[in-house]
């Protein structure tokens, strides 16, 4: 029998980014005991990387903004396959969640009359993003972190969950290891909230850190939960591309929100060349009008650089493929040009985009107030995730909740920038609230000891094979390269079929992975244990992407380049079949209530 420490909580929250922290705070407020597991140290989760802002219809800068406009923007951005109830709740509740952050100590940038300032962002009709320069995510995570440490929550830092534990149908805990000593831990809980973030590490070029290996997606899938929308991966249009070691690091959309423009090697603003029909009425006709929009002219429409991320990414790919790219295979993003339009332009850029200024100065020897940046698409976010009830965030497995990036529904086929920081606080709160309420209604149950033994044994296998086995990093690299090439921004059937074969081969290699050394803080071992998760989410992405024979949002196929009406009525779900094989099914999108339909009609 493997040795392990046991911890007991009413609610166990797995993940300590914005969604996990917000869930833990709310669950604790519900009067139950809460455990919070972080894969890294507290306050280091990927939320810290969010730059541009939090979308909420506060109407501080433009009083025409309301939840209805935000709702319809979110649905349009998601190409109408979103969970409309989540989009509605999100638009209605995000202003309160943002104001709550201020009550907990967040310090947003201000308007002239002292209110929270809001900025323009892609796909949002009005300036809607509450922000702190370009480090909004840091402000959000620090505010929640500094609040949670006074709420009586037990924090388990540098701890990774390997499996959810069940009693019959219901989730009753989780099993994992702590990094420092490599010891196993069993968490007994009446409810578990997954808030583990994304899957970016399945791709070679990504803005995500090592942590984002689809843990929550896989834990839920293995426990019998449905995943939904897995084909929809967001490739952010502007990642750094040079030098090679920084490839993929995010360049915030706020650069474009502040007036930055995209140009090809011929100096042309190519975004004007292809404006999708459903955005034409909202997009500027001229460069001059676009500039006036970024400077707050309410009569002007937004420049095409602020179209949705899926579209901008594809336009960049088109320019590069047509031979009009920048020297290192991207395009140019120019913010320096605004110096010709505003006094003290260089100072203005440094003030509005301080981290971008430093990031390029330090990592690329480039002064963004003088020269254009070279940028290209980077894997950034997955719209797909655990299928949850919109109001409670509970999955189809009793006792299992999910919130934030690892849950799905709100974003549909494409997420608008700024909607993830609002998503995590709106649905993090809901998940915590309903998990606590659920925990009060059920009795504690003991996890199955056999299940624990199986998982623990499997976790130690890489040591048995030792350094004679396959290297974990080599398998991870091969997976990332394959997903990038075959299931990336532009997809087609033959390549994705090839990827399915490749995944099978990689699964076999992952089964032979071996590591040296011992269990104490051994990153090789940790990388080996993350591999099954990466393989599961990669397979889910590939299988759903094959089934969706059209192009929509983040999912683009060159063998089916157009949107198909018939695909707008359902979502693809994946679940683990009885024989352990992955099954793909269709779930009809419920009929939207008349009042929501009317809102969408009015905002067209």
């Amino acid at each position: 029998m493997p040795e392990y420490q046991t911890h007991e909580h009413d609610v166990l929250v797995v993940g300590a980014g914005g969604a996990g922290l917000r869930a833990a705070i709310e669950a604790a407020a519900g009067g139950v005991s809460v455990g919070l597991v972080c894969k890294s140290l507290l306050g280091k989760a990927h939320t810290v990387m969010a730059e541009g802002g939090i979308a909420a219809a506060l109407a501080n800068v433009d009083d025409r903004d309301t939840w209805k406009v935000h709702f319809s923007d979110t649905m349009r951005g998601g190409q109408y396959v979103n969970n409309w109830r989540m989009a509605e709740l999100h638009a209605k509740e995000s202003p309160d969640r943002v104001r709550e952050l201020e009550a907990w100590g967040a310090m947003f940038d201000r308007t002239k009359d002292g209110k929270i300032l809001q900025r323009n962002f892609g796909g949002h009709r009005y300036p809607r993003l509450a922000h702190v320069g370009d480090r909004t995510g840091l402000e959000l995570i620090r505010t929640l972190q500094d609040h949670v440490i006074h709420q009586g929550v037990d924090v388990h830092m540098e701890c990774t969950i390997l499996s959810l534990l069940k009693d019959g149908d219901r989730v009753v805990g989780a099993f994992g290891y702590e990094r420092e000593r490599g010891r196993f831990k069993v968490f007994k809980a009446k409810a578990v909230v997954l808030a583990t973030g994304g899957i970016g590490r399945a791709y070679k070029i990504t803005s995500n850190s090592w942590e984002y290996t689809g843990d929550g997606h896989t834990l839920a899938y293995d426990a019998g939960a449905d995943l939904i929308d897995m084909e929809f991966v967001q490739f952010h249009p502007t990642g750094m591309i040079w030098p090679p070691s920084v490839r993929g690091i995010l360049v915030t959309e706020a650069v474009r929100g502040e007036g930055g423009v995209l140009k090809n090697s011929e100096g042309r603003r190519f975004m004007f060349d292809d404006i999708p029909e459903n955005y034409r009425a909202q997009t500027a006709d001229t460069e001059e009008e676009g500039w006036r929009y970024t400077q707050g002219d309410k009569a002007a429409r937004r420049p095409p650089e602020l179209l949705t991320r899926d579209h901008v990414s594809r336009c960049i790919m088109r320019e590069v493929k047509a031979g009009r790219g920048s020297p290192h295979g991207g395009v140019f993003l120019d913010i320096a040009w605004i110096k010709s339009r505003i006094a003290n332009g260089a100072e203005h850029i440094k003030k509005k985009l301080p981290s971008m200024y430093h990031q390029f100065k330090q990592l690329a020897d480039l002064d963004i107030t003088e020269e254009p940046m070279e940028v290209g698409p980077t894997t950034h976010y997955i719209m797909g995730g655990v299928r949850v009830d919109a109001d409670t965030q509970m999955s189809n497995v009793p006792g299992l909740f999910a919130a934030g990036e690892c849950a799905a529904g709100i974003n549909g086929a494409n997420r608008l920038g700024g909607n993830s920081l609002s998503d995590i606080i709106v649905f993090g709160k809901r998940a915590g609230e309903f998990a606590a309420a659920y925990a009060k209604t059920v009795r504690r149950a003991d996890p199955n000891p056999q299940q624990i033994e199986i998982v623990a044994h499997r976790a130690l296998e890489p040591f048995e094979r030792g350094t004679a086995g396959e290297g974990p990093y080599q398998v991870q690299d091969a997976l990332q390269a394959m997903m990038q090439d075959l299931v990336g921004i532009v997809r087609n059937e033959p390549e994705m079929r090839q990827a399915l074969d490749g995944l099978q081969a990689l699964r076999a290699r992952a089964g032979r992975v071996g590591v040296g050394g011992h269990r104490e803080y051994n990153p090789g071992w940790h990388a080996a244990l993350d591999l099954p998760n990466l393989l599961t989410v990669s397979e889910a992405i590939t299988r759903c992407a094959i089934e969706r024979k059209e192009s929509r949002g983040g999912h683009f196929r060159d063998d089916y380049p157009d949107k198909e009406k018939s695909y707008a009525t359902f979502n693809f779900i994946v679940r683990k079949g009885g024989d352990g094989a992955m099954e793909v099914a269709r779930a009809a999108i419920p009929e939207m209530p008349a009042e929501l339909k009317q809102i969408i009609e009015e905002m067209k």
Partner: protein, 257 residues
């Protein structure tokens, strides 16, 4: 001039390997290319030569503050230290932060920092300014505090602080990071707590003798000593030592500190 990373094709890194009981520097030679940072070299060593080399990192963009270490003796974020800033003609030493207990290789036990923060009274705002529960603040007041809120909690300032590093006075002094945290709270225009007495008695602000080592290593460029610690020290003196101010406060019935 020393060869830069752009011209060299390989370089040697002298990396600390070991745990709390014993350890040693070990040399690893690995390929280097244009634009690489120290963390890239560590990853390359980890992937090819030492799978179990322990290192903390997350964002690789200077935003999360996880990969703090001492590179050629200088406290740095490994992800923001370019190889072309280093002399690659001799081995580059990479060792863990020395002020904190070692866990393994480049990873230290920084848990004390999280406990120290918990001891500082949390933010408590004044009643809302507007019936909708919101406040009004001027950008200029916000900016003063935003400087402190840029902190990414890399703990490099704690690592170089003499009081912590050389004298190991973790029980008596919270260190520059948490004085910055306290300053952000104290200077927040909405906050209503007064932490002055606690800063003196429990958090040991008097131990800081303003050598500014913390300010020099801050990767976020926070002017820790001048903008955070000295103003807090002045508050301590004004509120706890100034006899004239004391009399005034007594007469006016001011806030007890």
């Amino acid at each position: 001039m020393a060869p830069s990373a752009t011209s060299a094709t390989s370089a040697t890194f002298r990396v600390w390997r070991g745990d709390a009981e014993r350890g040693e520097f070990r040399d690893y030679t690995t390929d280097v290319s244009e634009g690489m940072v120290v963390l890239d070299a560590v990853h390359s060593i980890q992937a090819g030569q030492a799978n179990d080399l322990a290192v903390r990192w997350n964002c690789k963009a200077g935003k999360c503050g996880s990969c703090s270490a001492e590179v050629n003796g200088n406290p740095r974020l490994m992800c923001m230290t370019r190889l072309n800033q280093l002399d690659l003609s001799k081995p580059v030493t990479i060792e863990p932060m020395r002020a904190f207990p070692l866990i393994r290789d480049l990873v230290t036990d920084v848990s004390w920092n999280f406990q120290a923060k918990q001891g500082i009274r949390k933010f408590k705002p004044r009643p809302a300014d507007s019936p909708d529960g919101t406040w009004r603040m001027a950008q200029v007041d916000v900016e003063r505090v935003q400087e402190f809120r840029k902190c990414i909690e890399c703990f490099l300032c704690q690592d170089v602080c003499h009081v912590l590093r050389d004298h190991q006075m973790f029980d008596a002094f919270v260190g520059p990071r948490h004085l910055v945290y306290a300053a952000a709270l104290e200077m927040n225009p909405l906050d209503t707590h007064n932490r002055t007495r606690a800063l003196k008695q429990d958090r040991g602000i008097g131990y800081c003798n303003i050598t500014k080592c913390c300010t020099k290593v801050c990767p976020e460029g926070i002017t820790i000593t001048d903008n955070a610690i000295i103003p807090l020290k002045e508050r301590v003196i004004d509120q706890l030592y100034d006899p004239i101010a004391k009399v005034f406060r007594a007469l006016r019935g001011g806030r007890h500190v």
